[in-house]
Protein backbone atom coordinates (compact mmCIF):
# COMPACT_ATOMS: atom_id res chain seq x y z
CA UNK A 1 0.00 0.00 0.00
CA UNK A 2 2.32 2.72 -1.13
CA UNK A 3 1.21 6.17 -0.18
CA UNK A 4 0.67 8.25 -3.27
CA UNK A 5 3.80 7.71 -5.38
CA UNK A 6 5.14 11.20 -5.59
CA UNK A 7 7.18 10.80 -8.74
CA UNK A 8 5.90 9.14 -11.80
CA UNK A 9 8.08 6.28 -12.93
CA UNK A 10 8.14 7.19 -16.53
CA UNK A 11 9.25 10.75 -16.10
CA UNK A 12 12.15 9.80 -13.97
CA UNK A 13 13.46 6.83 -15.91
CA UNK A 14 16.53 7.75 -17.85
CA UNK A 15 18.77 5.63 -19.99
CA UNK A 16 21.22 3.75 -17.85
CA UNK A 17 24.67 5.17 -17.46
CA UNK A 18 27.62 3.03 -18.34
CA UNK A 19 29.24 2.85 -14.95
CA UNK A 20 30.98 -0.40 -14.19
CA UNK A 21 29.78 -0.80 -10.65
CA UNK A 22 26.24 -1.97 -11.36
CA UNK A 23 27.37 -4.28 -14.14
CA UNK A 24 29.92 -5.97 -11.95
CA UNK A 25 27.47 -6.17 -9.09
CA UNK A 26 24.88 -7.68 -11.32
CA UNK A 27 27.28 -10.38 -12.45
CA UNK A 28 28.18 -11.17 -8.86
CA UNK A 29 24.50 -11.28 -7.97
CA UNK A 30 23.74 -13.65 -10.81
CA UNK A 31 26.50 -15.96 -9.62
CA UNK A 32 25.17 -15.84 -6.07
CA UNK A 33 21.64 -16.59 -7.18
CA UNK A 34 22.64 -19.51 -9.34
CA UNK A 35 24.73 -21.31 -6.81
CA UNK A 36 21.91 -21.30 -4.30
CA UNK A 37 21.74 -25.09 -4.54
CA UNK A 38 24.95 -25.67 -2.67
CA UNK A 39 25.16 -23.59 0.43
CA UNK A 40 28.21 -21.42 0.12
CA UNK A 41 30.03 -20.92 3.36
CA UNK A 42 29.96 -17.17 3.47
CA UNK A 43 26.28 -16.93 3.06
CA UNK A 44 23.49 -16.67 5.54
CA UNK A 45 20.48 -18.76 4.74
CA UNK A 46 17.21 -18.20 6.50
CA UNK A 47 15.02 -21.15 5.63
CA UNK A 48 11.32 -21.21 4.89
CA UNK A 49 10.41 -21.99 8.48
CA UNK A 50 12.29 -19.07 9.93
CA UNK A 51 10.69 -15.90 11.12
CA UNK A 52 12.63 -12.93 12.38
CA UNK A 53 11.12 -9.88 13.97
CA UNK A 54 13.88 -7.34 14.00
CA UNK A 55 16.75 -5.95 12.07
CA UNK A 56 19.39 -7.68 9.96
CA UNK A 57 22.83 -6.25 9.28
CA UNK A 58 25.14 -8.21 7.07
CA UNK A 59 28.44 -7.88 5.28
CA UNK A 60 27.92 -11.27 3.62
CA UNK A 61 25.35 -12.52 1.23
CA UNK A 62 21.99 -13.19 2.84
CA UNK A 63 19.42 -15.52 1.35
CA UNK A 64 15.93 -15.30 2.73
CA UNK A 65 13.35 -17.98 2.19
CA UNK A 66 11.44 -17.31 5.38
CA UNK A 67 9.80 -14.22 6.82
CA UNK A 68 11.53 -11.10 7.99
CA UNK A 69 9.56 -8.45 9.76
CA UNK A 70 12.05 -5.62 9.91
CA UNK A 71 14.77 -3.77 8.07
CA UNK A 72 17.67 -5.34 6.25
CA UNK A 73 21.07 -3.88 5.51
CA UNK A 74 23.26 -6.20 3.49
CA UNK A 75 25.83 -6.23 0.74
CA UNK A 76 24.06 -8.87 -1.25
CA UNK A 77 20.52 -9.98 -0.62
CA UNK A 78 18.56 -12.79 -2.21
CA UNK A 79 14.91 -13.11 -1.39
CA UNK A 80 14.00 -16.56 -2.58
CA UNK A 81 10.67 -17.82 -3.78
CA UNK A 82 8.36 -17.92 -0.78
CA UNK A 83 10.53 -15.47 1.11
CA UNK A 84 8.82 -12.42 2.60
CA UNK A 85 10.25 -9.18 3.81
CA UNK A 86 8.25 -6.42 5.44
CA UNK A 87 10.62 -3.56 5.90
CA UNK A 88 13.18 -1.24 4.47
CA UNK A 89 15.90 -2.88 2.38
CA UNK A 90 19.27 -1.30 1.76
CA UNK A 91 21.84 -3.32 -0.15
CA UNK A 92 24.40 -3.24 -2.93
CA UNK A 93 22.63 -5.89 -4.92
CA UNK A 94 19.22 -7.44 -4.43
CA UNK A 95 17.54 -10.34 -6.19
CA UNK A 96 13.86 -10.77 -5.47
CA UNK A 97 11.84 -13.88 -6.21
CA UNK A 98 9.60 -13.56 -3.16
CA UNK A 99 7.52 -10.80 -1.65
CA UNK A 100 8.73 -7.45 -0.41
CA UNK A 101 6.65 -4.76 1.20
CA UNK A 102 8.72 -1.67 1.79
CA UNK A 103 11.23 0.62 0.27
CA UNK A 104 14.27 -0.82 -1.51
CA UNK A 105 17.49 1.07 -2.02
CA UNK A 106 20.07 -0.87 -4.00
CA UNK A 107 22.54 -0.26 -6.76
CA UNK A 108 21.49 -3.33 -8.66
CA UNK A 109 18.08 -4.92 -8.42
CA UNK A 110 16.90 -7.99 -10.29
CA UNK A 111 13.33 -9.13 -10.00
CA UNK A 112 12.15 -12.59 -10.97
CA UNK A 113 8.71 -13.35 -12.33
CA UNK A 114 7.56 -14.92 -9.08
CA UNK A 115 8.19 -11.69 -7.18
CA UNK A 116 5.78 -9.23 -5.64
CA UNK A 117 7.18 -5.88 -4.65
CA UNK A 118 5.10 -3.18 -3.03
CA UNK A 119 7.08 -0.04 -2.45
CA UNK A 120 9.60 2.24 -4.04
CA UNK A 121 12.73 0.81 -5.64
CA UNK A 122 15.59 3.27 -5.73
CA UNK A 123 18.20 1.82 -8.07
CA UNK A 124 20.95 2.37 -10.53
CA UNK A 125 20.31 -0.79 -12.46
CA UNK A 126 17.03 -2.66 -12.56
CA UNK A 127 16.02 -5.84 -14.31
CA UNK A 128 12.47 -7.11 -14.18
CA UNK A 129 11.36 -10.46 -15.50
CA UNK A 130 8.06 -10.56 -17.29
CA UNK A 131 5.28 -11.58 -14.96
CA UNK A 132 6.50 -9.90 -11.80
CA UNK A 133 3.99 -7.97 -9.70
CA UNK A 134 5.21 -4.50 -8.87
CA UNK A 135 3.55 -1.57 -7.23
CA UNK A 136 5.33 1.67 -6.50
CA UNK A 137 7.73 4.13 -8.05
CA UNK A 138 11.03 2.84 -9.37
CA UNK A 139 13.25 5.86 -9.84
CA UNK A 140 16.69 5.47 -11.40
CA UNK A 141 19.49 7.32 -9.65
CA UNK A 142 23.08 7.94 -10.70
CA UNK A 143 25.94 6.20 -8.92
CA UNK A 144 26.87 9.42 -7.15
CA UNK A 145 23.46 9.37 -5.51
CA UNK A 146 23.65 5.66 -4.67
CA UNK A 147 27.09 6.17 -3.15
CA UNK A 148 25.56 8.65 -0.77
CA UNK A 149 22.88 6.18 0.24
CA UNK A 150 25.39 3.38 0.63
CA UNK A 151 28.87 4.68 1.34
CA UNK A 152 31.32 2.05 0.10
Amino acid sequence: MPREPTQSDVAIMKPMSKTEAPTELRERLAVAVNRSEDNGSERSVLGPRVRIVGRLESVDCVEIRGMIDGDIDSTMLIIGEGGRVDGFISADAVHIAGTVTGRIEAITVTIAKSATVIGAIIHNSLEIEKGATLDGPRPWRPMSFMAELRPI
Binding site: R49, V50, R55, E57, D69, T101, G102, R103
Partner: protein, 183 residues
Amino acid sequence: MFKKDDKAPGAGSTTGGFGGSDNAQSETHRPAARGGSGEHSVISAGLRVIGNLESDEDVEVRGIVEGDISSRTLTVSEGARVEGAIAADRVTVAGTVNGKISADRVAISKSGSMIGDLTYKSLSIEEGASFDGQCRRSDAGRREPEKVSNLKPVQTEAAQVAPKDEPTAAAAGAKGGKSAAAS
Protein backbone atom coordinates in the same frame (compact mmCIF):
# COMPACT_ATOMS: atom_id res chain seq x y z
CA MET B 1 0.40 -35.96 3.77
CA PHE B 2 0.51 -37.66 7.12
CA LYS B 3 1.85 -40.93 5.93
CA LYS B 4 5.04 -42.01 7.54
CA ASP B 5 6.76 -42.88 4.34
CA ASP B 6 10.23 -44.25 4.83
CA LYS B 7 12.04 -45.41 7.91
CA ALA B 8 13.76 -42.07 8.27
CA PRO B 9 17.11 -43.14 9.72
CA GLY B 10 17.43 -41.91 13.26
CA ALA B 11 15.28 -38.93 12.59
CA GLY B 12 12.38 -40.25 14.59
CA SER B 13 14.31 -40.35 17.83
CA THR B 14 13.60 -36.79 18.78
CA THR B 15 10.18 -35.80 19.83
CA GLY B 16 8.60 -34.70 16.63
CA GLY B 17 7.36 -31.18 16.95
CA PHE B 18 6.96 -29.33 20.18
CA GLY B 19 4.27 -27.66 22.18
CA GLY B 20 1.34 -26.36 20.31
CA SER B 21 3.23 -23.17 19.88
CA ASP B 22 3.48 -23.53 16.19
CA ASN B 23 0.86 -24.24 13.64
CA ALA B 24 3.30 -26.49 11.91
CA GLN B 25 1.68 -28.59 9.26
CA SER B 26 3.18 -31.68 10.77
CA GLU B 27 6.59 -32.61 9.53
CA THR B 28 7.05 -31.44 6.02
CA HIS B 29 9.48 -33.87 4.58
CA ARG B 30 12.09 -31.85 2.84
CA PRO B 31 12.27 -32.27 -0.87
CA ALA B 32 15.27 -34.30 -1.88
CA ALA B 33 16.23 -31.69 -4.39
CA ARG B 34 17.48 -29.48 -1.61
CA GLY B 35 19.90 -32.15 -0.52
CA GLY B 36 18.57 -32.30 3.01
CA SER B 37 20.12 -28.99 3.98
CA GLY B 38 17.21 -27.02 2.68
CA GLU B 39 15.67 -26.28 6.05
CA HIS B 40 18.96 -25.72 7.77
CA SER B 41 19.28 -22.03 8.43
CA VAL B 42 22.61 -20.36 8.86
CA ILE B 43 23.37 -16.96 10.32
CA SER B 44 26.81 -16.46 8.82
CA ALA B 45 29.71 -14.74 10.52
CA GLY B 46 28.98 -11.50 8.71
CA LEU B 47 25.37 -11.29 9.78
CA ARG B 48 24.03 -9.57 12.84
CA VAL B 49 20.40 -10.04 13.78
CA ILE B 50 18.87 -7.57 16.17
CA GLY B 51 15.56 -9.10 16.99
CA ASN B 52 13.86 -12.36 17.69
CA LEU B 53 14.23 -15.44 15.55
CA GLU B 54 11.72 -18.25 15.45
CA SER B 55 11.98 -21.47 13.55
CA ASP B 56 10.88 -25.05 13.92
CA GLU B 57 13.87 -26.25 11.98
CA ASP B 58 17.59 -26.34 12.66
CA VAL B 59 19.46 -23.09 13.06
CA GLU B 60 23.17 -22.50 13.13
CA VAL B 61 24.51 -19.20 14.37
CA ARG B 62 27.99 -18.19 13.28
CA GLY B 63 27.38 -14.48 13.56
CA ILE B 64 25.62 -12.40 16.16
CA VAL B 65 22.06 -12.57 17.37
CA GLU B 66 20.85 -9.95 19.78
CA GLY B 67 17.47 -11.29 20.66
CA ASP B 68 15.64 -14.46 21.50
CA ILE B 69 15.87 -17.64 19.49
CA SER B 70 13.40 -20.44 19.33
CA SER B 71 14.21 -23.39 17.10
CA ARG B 72 14.46 -27.17 16.90
CA THR B 73 18.19 -27.52 17.18
CA LEU B 74 20.45 -24.56 17.69
CA THR B 75 24.17 -24.53 17.16
CA VAL B 76 26.06 -21.51 18.39
CA SER B 77 29.35 -21.97 16.58
CA GLU B 78 32.77 -20.87 17.66
CA GLY B 79 33.07 -17.12 17.38
CA ALA B 80 29.33 -16.64 17.38
CA ARG B 81 27.43 -14.69 19.98
CA VAL B 82 23.86 -14.87 21.16
CA GLU B 83 22.43 -12.41 23.62
CA GLY B 84 18.97 -13.46 24.56
CA ALA B 85 16.84 -16.36 25.61
CA ILE B 86 17.16 -19.62 23.76
CA ALA B 87 14.48 -22.26 23.60
CA ALA B 88 15.19 -25.35 21.55
CA ASP B 89 15.09 -29.13 21.62
CA ARG B 90 18.84 -29.33 21.44
CA VAL B 91 21.42 -26.60 21.94
CA THR B 92 25.13 -26.79 21.29
CA VAL B 93 27.21 -23.90 22.51
CA ALA B 94 30.69 -23.49 21.06
CA GLY B 95 30.50 -19.72 20.97
CA THR B 96 29.18 -17.26 23.50
CA VAL B 97 25.71 -17.16 24.94
CA ASN B 98 24.62 -14.45 27.28
CA GLY B 99 21.08 -15.08 28.41
CA LYS B 100 19.08 -18.16 29.19
CA ILE B 101 18.85 -21.57 27.67
CA SER B 102 15.95 -23.91 27.95
CA ALA B 103 16.36 -27.14 26.06
CA ASP B 104 16.05 -30.91 26.28
CA ARG B 105 19.69 -31.38 25.54
CA VAL B 106 22.35 -28.81 26.18
CA ALA B 107 26.00 -29.24 25.28
CA ILE B 108 28.64 -26.64 26.03
CA SER B 109 31.86 -27.48 24.25
CA LYS B 110 35.31 -26.39 25.31
CA SER B 111 35.32 -23.25 23.23
CA GLY B 112 31.88 -22.35 24.53
CA SER B 113 31.00 -19.71 27.03
CA MET B 114 27.64 -19.41 28.69
CA ILE B 115 26.50 -16.79 31.14
CA GLY B 116 23.00 -17.24 32.42
CA ASP B 117 20.63 -19.89 33.61
CA LEU B 118 20.07 -23.28 32.12
CA THR B 119 17.01 -25.42 32.14
CA TYR B 120 17.74 -28.84 30.70
CA LYS B 121 16.93 -32.48 30.68
CA SER B 122 20.37 -33.66 29.65
CA LEU B 123 23.49 -31.56 30.03
CA SER B 124 27.09 -31.88 29.01
CA ILE B 125 29.85 -29.41 29.70
CA GLU B 126 33.21 -30.11 28.16
CA GLU B 127 36.41 -29.39 30.06
CA GLY B 128 37.57 -25.90 29.29
CA ALA B 129 34.11 -24.53 28.77
CA SER B 130 33.06 -21.45 30.64
CA PHE B 131 29.75 -21.49 32.42
CA ASP B 132 28.43 -18.99 34.89
CA GLY B 133 24.87 -19.37 36.01
CA GLN B 134 22.40 -21.73 37.53
CA CYS B 135 21.38 -25.08 36.18
CA ARG B 136 18.04 -26.58 36.75
CA ARG B 137 17.08 -29.99 35.57
CA SER B 138 13.57 -30.33 34.39
CA ASP B 139 11.94 -33.47 33.13
CA ALA B 140 9.60 -31.31 31.23
CA GLY B 141 12.62 -30.42 29.15
CA ARG B 142 12.22 -27.47 26.93
CA ARG B 143 10.11 -24.71 28.26
CA GLU B 144 9.75 -21.29 26.83
CA PRO B 145 11.80 -19.10 29.13
CA GLU B 146 10.88 -15.59 29.92
CA LYS B 147 12.01 -13.45 27.11
CA VAL B 148 15.22 -11.62 27.74
CA SER B 149 14.97 -9.17 24.95
CA ASN B 150 11.98 -6.93 24.88
CA LEU B 151 12.07 -5.95 21.28
CA LYS B 152 8.85 -4.97 19.72
CA PRO B 153 7.88 -5.58 16.13
CA VAL B 154 9.52 -3.06 13.94
CA GLN B 155 7.38 -0.31 12.54
CA THR B 156 7.65 -0.70 8.85
CA GLU B 157 4.77 0.52 6.85
CA ALA B 158 3.90 3.73 5.26
CA ALA B 159 6.99 5.53 6.44
CA GLN B 160 9.08 3.02 4.54
CA VAL B 161 6.96 2.68 1.51
CA ALA B 162 6.57 6.35 0.84
CA PRO B 163 9.63 8.19 -0.37
CA LYS B 164 11.70 9.82 2.31
CA ASP B 165 10.45 13.13 3.59
CA GLU B 166 12.71 16.09 3.82
CA PRO B 167 13.45 17.09 7.38
CA THR B 168 10.71 19.47 8.33
CA ALA B 169 11.51 23.13 8.39
CA ALA B 170 9.77 23.42 11.75
CA ALA B 171 12.16 20.94 13.36
CA ALA B 172 15.14 22.71 11.87
CA GLY B 173 13.80 26.02 13.10
CA ALA B 174 13.25 24.70 16.60
CA LYS B 175 16.80 23.40 16.70
CA GLY B 176 18.18 26.67 15.46
CA GLY B 177 16.17 28.60 18.01
CA LYS B 178 17.43 26.43 20.82
CA SER B 179 21.07 26.75 19.90
CA ALA B 180 20.65 30.47 19.49
CA ALA B 181 19.11 30.72 22.93
CA ALA B 182 21.93 28.66 24.41
CA SER B 183 24.58 30.94 23.02
